[in-house]
Amino acid sequence: MAGKMRLSVIITVVASIFLFTSLAVAAEKVLKIGVLGPFTGPSAKSGKEFKDSVTMALDKIGSKIGNYKIVPVWIDSQSDPAKATNAFAEAIERKGVVAGCLNWHSSVAIACMDLAAQYKVPWIAGMGAAELVVKKWRSNPQKYSYWSCKFWPVPGKLEAGQSVAFMNWALKNGVWKVKAKKAAIFGEDTDWGRNAGENLKKALKAGGWEIAFEDYFALTQTDFYPMLSKYKKAGVTFVGGTTTSAPSMTGLVKQYREVGLKALLFANGLSWVGEWYKLTGKASNGVIDVQAQFGSKAAKAFAKAKKARFGYAPSAPASGLSYDGFNFFIKILRRTLEKYGKITSEDIHKVVMDEVNTGKLTFTEADGAILMKEYKYTAETAPDPVVDTNHYFFPVIQYENGKSSIIFPESMKEKDFTPPM
């Protein structure tokens, strides 16, 4: 019993120590910036990639902007909007975060937008792609301008549009022949999966495809034999969809080979987790995808450096986009310092409003962007970036032995499309 008492005493003491240390005012010229990500829970892997990318970006500038020392504050969203808001508010009030960047889930974005507005703390480069985020943002652009520079456009703009555009092109040019335009859509049963599925459906219908199936499965699903067998029986010629869950996606790709489905597989998000090839092996040959690539020299160097330092092959969206997002953020901070001579939440917000959201301040390859040519926001597109081949753009790629090559659009093509056999 004494042990129990001691335990509770220890807990109380630890708790009060935390409280008191936190009350100590931060030293001058320290700039605390928040990094929001899912560091625990089902998406913890993406959170880890965020964290490592931010660490690398900080090391590059020696954690200094002018005479400000940058201190990152990791905010664990725990993949849960309620918990995320708790951590978010605490980071701002207790830890003194003046601004921040990144985020993964749309539901977290929607909950934290309100807090960013309430505390007037600018937050940029959140990934939550769902249309709901855009809708909420547009319902009060002034208020929600604190949550700006969405770093992943609504899926319809890129993934669905690009893949269907590619298929239309391939069919027209005879590089791919199908018996019937019969498609099956799959997706994880989350905001992301459903939204992407909806958009793909729209794009396919517009392209004259018949949608034979639409299946949304749980994030934990790894057995797709029944689903794929069903597709095979019905003779679908295109299977497309997305999931952020690596076990699901790699399982699906592998099993799609195993059941002998001869359709073209559009597996959006296959390489979001660095180890994907360890999980699929050759089964991924011929699968197409629409996504960011470590294409440029700088990007490849980054991927190599990250692998050397942290021991895993980074994924382009989680590692690359978070790296770009954070560097963009640093650029905004520098601009703020240059313009106002100091960095405060209000100043950063002014820069975002006056220069970023109007398209004056962009983040380009010259600035060190590794995934996109240029991240640019305009009044029309905000909070989404400008999407085209010279700005934010995902090409269509095809996997071959663990590597991917751009096959579409033709202007960027690295390799010819190999149709499924």
Binding site: G3, T12, A15, D80, P81, A82, S106, D191
Partner: protein
Amino acid sequence: METGVSKHEMGFFSSVLDRLCLTPLGALLLVLLALLPLIPPFNQQYLLRWLTIVALSAASAIAFDLTAGFINIVNFGYAAILGLGAYTSAILAVRTGLSPWIGIFVGALASGLLGFLTGLLTLRLRGIFAAVMAWFIGLALMGLAIKMVWLTRGPLGLRVPRMFDTSSNEPYYYMMIVMLLVVYVICRWVTRSKMGLAFKAIGQNMEAARTSGVNPTYYRIVNFTLSCTIAGWLGGFYAHYMGILTPDLMHTSKTVEVLAVVYIGGRGSLWGGAFLAFPFLIAMELVRSGFSNLPGLHLVIYGVILILVMIYLPGGIASLYYRFLYKPWGKFWEFMVGYKEND
């Protein structure tokens, strides 16, 4: 739970307290809670936000304890039933524009109805079977919330109008504290009436209770209905406080969180979990934020504490209170106000 002192012997103050089922210590803590937003460091918004969520957990713990600690059935679908209340209120607000102030009560009714049905369905079942049944009802409910996209928007998340048109947390905090008190008083009042005895009798031995004239059917259904109604009511508050609802709210792990608080706090005491929630959950938050380099550490600690309590301290923190503090405090109060604690 007969009171040792008859009503007219007590002073007005004590009599009011007694009607509210509070001990002077409890009342003091309540006053402290009410004043907390004025005391640094708790005058910061994030701490108020934490406290609001913690108070919500505390209130959930009380309602959960009403079934777990009294009729000895662990409602493993508790989070889902709370979620049902949240969704009902939220959908009404979004679709029909119903005021959240009415909506949360409609949500409570919906959850209560489901609680009534669950109570009916688990009548023939005992112990682990009833827990598993409630679990599967919860899983089915969560599955429906995910799949009925046309109604709930599924995992896309349902945006919910907030209760107060302010970004400040104070109104929510005070509302939650009032709700906490109401939940406590209702549960306390019920459990110290004759019904509470019946609950305990059923929880300990259903057959014996039946033979001694207690009708388990009636009491079990009443218990389930009441507990679930409260859960739904709290769910409504959650919906209109967070402003977004996803089916994740109904996940089993959310039930586990409440369950851990109840068991560590001391089941069957009602106040144990509610009291513990404040220091414990806030300490956990601090561990999480203090050791952000070791994500998940706080959950390991959480689990280890639950295991240790289950093995070595089945009565939870409440039993420590009864063993070490209750009597000395009782004497202290007797001395100070001439009031004799009972209960």
